[in-house]
C-alpha cells in the first residue's frame, strides 16, 4: 500500500535525523526520570491525605499522560524548522501521499514518546509502583494515542500559523489549563465543587482517569471506556486537521 510505504520512508528519515542528535535523545530519556525523582517524593507524605496507598501508582499514570500529550504538542516547532529549510516543499512536489508526510512524522513521535513512557514506567516499578504489567501497558497505549492526536494537532497548527511566535503562546494557552485542571498532578476530588465542574469539561481529564484505572488493573470499568472514546475523538479530530493542513496548497 502506497500510503504505508511512503510513510515508512518519511518515518525512517525522521528517526535517523533524531538519532543523529544524541544529546537530544539522552534528554528525552532523562526527562521522565527527573520528574519521578524530583516530584514524586513530594507526593509521598500526602499520599494518605489524598486517599492513595502508593504515591507512585497514582502519580506515574499522570506523568505518562503529561509526557504523551505535552511532548507531542511541541513537535510543530520541528515541522516549522523543516518548512524553513524547504524540506516540506521538496516532499510536497513528490508524488508521496500528503497523509504519508503526516503519518511518517506521527510514527516518529509515537516511537519516541513510547520509549520515554516505557522508561518512566520501568523507573516507576523500580521506585515501588504497584501495577500489573498488562494494565500499565494498556495505560501507556492510551497515552500514546493521545500523543498521536496532540502531535497531529501541533503539526496542523504549525502549518496554519507558519510562525513560532504565534505558536509558542498558543501551546502555552493549551498546556497550562490542561496541566492544572485534568488531575495530572493531584486528584481533582481534592478541590472545591466549582473546580471539579471546570475539570469536567477538560477532555484530557477523562484520559487521565482511564490511564489511572488501567494502571490500577481495572480495565473493565466505565472510566476506561470513556477515556478511550475521548482519545479516539481527539485522534480523529487531530488527524483530520493534520491531513487537511498537509494537503492545502502552499502559500
Amino acid at each position: 500500500m502506497q500510503l504505508l510505504r511512503d510513510a515508512t520512508v518519511v518515518f525512517r528519515r525522521q528517526v535517523r535525523l533524531n538519532l543523529r542528535n544524541p544529546a537530544w535523545v539522552l534528554l528525552g530519556v532523562a526527562q521522565p526520570i527527573l520528574y519521578l525523582v524530583l516530584f514524586a517524593p513530594l507526593l509521598g507524605p500526602i499520599a494518605t491525605q489524598i486517599g492513595v496507598e502508593n504515591a507512585y501508582t497514582f502519580f506515574v499514570p499522570g506523568l505518562v499522560v503529561q509526557m504523551g500529550l505535552f511532548g507531542a504538542l511541541y513537535v510543530g516547532f520541528g515541522l516549522l524548522a523543516e518548512w524553513r529549510e524547504g524540506v516540506l516543499e521538496a516532499e510536497r512536489v513528490s508524488p508521496a501521499s500528503r497523509g504519508a508526510l503526516l503519518l511518517g512524522r506521527l510514527g516518529r513521535d509515537v516511537l519516541q514518546l513510547g520509549i520515554q513512557c516505557l522508561v518512566l514506567v520501568g523507573a516507576g516499578y523500580a521506585f515501588g509502583m504497584d501495577a500489573p504489567w498488562s494494565g500499565a501497558l494498556a495505560g501507556v497505549g492510551l497515552a500514546l494515542l493521545l500523543g498521536a492526536a496532540g502531535s497531529a494537532l501541533s503539526n496542523a497548527v504549525a502549518l496554519r500559523t507558519r510562525s513560532e511566535e504565534i505558536m509558542a503562546p498558543l501551546v502555552n494557552v493549551v498546556t497550562m489549563p490542561v496541566l492544572l485542571l485534568s488531575g495530572i498532578l493531584l486528584p481533582m476530588t481534592l478541590g472545591p465543587g466549582w473546580l471539579r465542574s471546570v475539570s469536567d469539561v477538560m477532555p484530557v481529564r477523562y484520559v487521565v482517569d482511564a490511564v489511572r484505572s488501567a494502571f490500577a488493573g481495572d480495565l473493565a470499568v466505565p472510566a476506561v471506556g470513556i477515556g478511550l472514546a475521548v482519545t479516539g475523538t481527539l485522534l480523529v479530530l487531530g488527524l483530520t486537521a493534520g491531513v487537511l493542513a498537509f494537503r492545502r496548497e502552499d502559500t
Binding site: R12, R16, L17, G86, V87, E89, A90, P95, A96
Partner: protein, 322 residues
Amino acid sequence: MIRTRDLRMSFDTGRGRRRRPVDAVRGIDLDVDRGEIVGLLGPNGAGKTTTLRILSTLLRPTSGTVEVCGHDVRTAPREVRRRLGYVAQGGSTSRRARCGDEATDRGMLYGLTRRAARERAHDLFDRLDLGDLWERPTGSLSGGQRRRLEIATALVHRPELVVLDEPTTGLDPQSRANLWDHIRDLRESHGTTVLVTTHYLDEADALSDRLVVVDHGSVVADGTSDALKADLDGDVLTVRLADPSEAGRAALCLRAVLGHAFSPTDDGTLTGPLHAGSGGLAVVVRELDRHDLAVVGLDVRRPTLDDVFLTLTGRSLRDAAA
C-alpha cells in the same frame, strides 16, 4: 510538455483593512515542447518563482489552464509530480541530514527501491562533483556544494521535465559550466525537457534553445536569443569622451544627428542604439568633431541579451539581480 493559457495568480496579503491582493502572475501563456531547454528571465518579483511553483503543483493558480507532462495540475497533480523534478530557489535539504541519505530518501519518495535510489544518487554525485560528500551532513557544505546537492536530489527519479529556479546562484564559473553540461547531457541522453530561471544572461544565451522574458507577471518576449537580439534593430553605440563634463552637450549633439536620446554617465560615456540607415558612424564622428568634442573611444557592437532586457523591461538585469 508545458502548456499554460491565461495563467493568473493573485496572493492575498495583509489582514482586515490592510488586506490587498498582489497580482504575481497576470495572464501568462507558456508553451514548452518535449526536449526543449527554455530559459525564463525576468527581474526580481517578475513572477518566475510563482509560475514555477504553479507548474510544480505547489500552488493552485487563481485562474487559467495549466497542463504539465500531459496532465492538468489541478485534476491530476500526482501524475504531474511523478514526472517532474523541481529545484527550488530556496533550498530543499535538512542541515542535519547526510547528503547521501537526503538524495536516497528523495528518490524513494518517488517509488524507487532503496538500492535503485542509492545507485542513481551515487551516479549523480559523481557527475556533479559531489563524490566524496556522501557521508557529510549537508550543513557542513559550502553554498555551491549545497546547491549542487539540491540539484542532484531533484534528479534521482529521472524526471521527464526538470524545473530549476536559479540553479546556478552561488556557483563558481567552473561549477556553472559543469552544470550546463549536465543539463545538456540530460537532454541528449534522456530527452529531458528543462525549464530554468536565471539572472545570468550569458547562461540563458548559452544554455537555452529559447528564452521567455517576463516582467510584472506577463510575458514580454518569447523567442531564440538571436531572434530577440535581431528585434532590437541595429547595433549599440558607445562613445567615450575625453572630458566627462561635456557629456551633457554631447548627448544633445547625438540626439540632433541620430534622433533619439543617449543616456550620459558620470564617467563620460554615452550609450544608445545605432539604427541601420541613420547615416552610420561617420556622421556621428563628424558631428562631434564639429562641436569640438574630443572622443577617446568609440565602440559599435551587436546587442547582447542585456540590451534586449533593458529595452523590454526598462531595467538592466544586473540591477534586477542586485
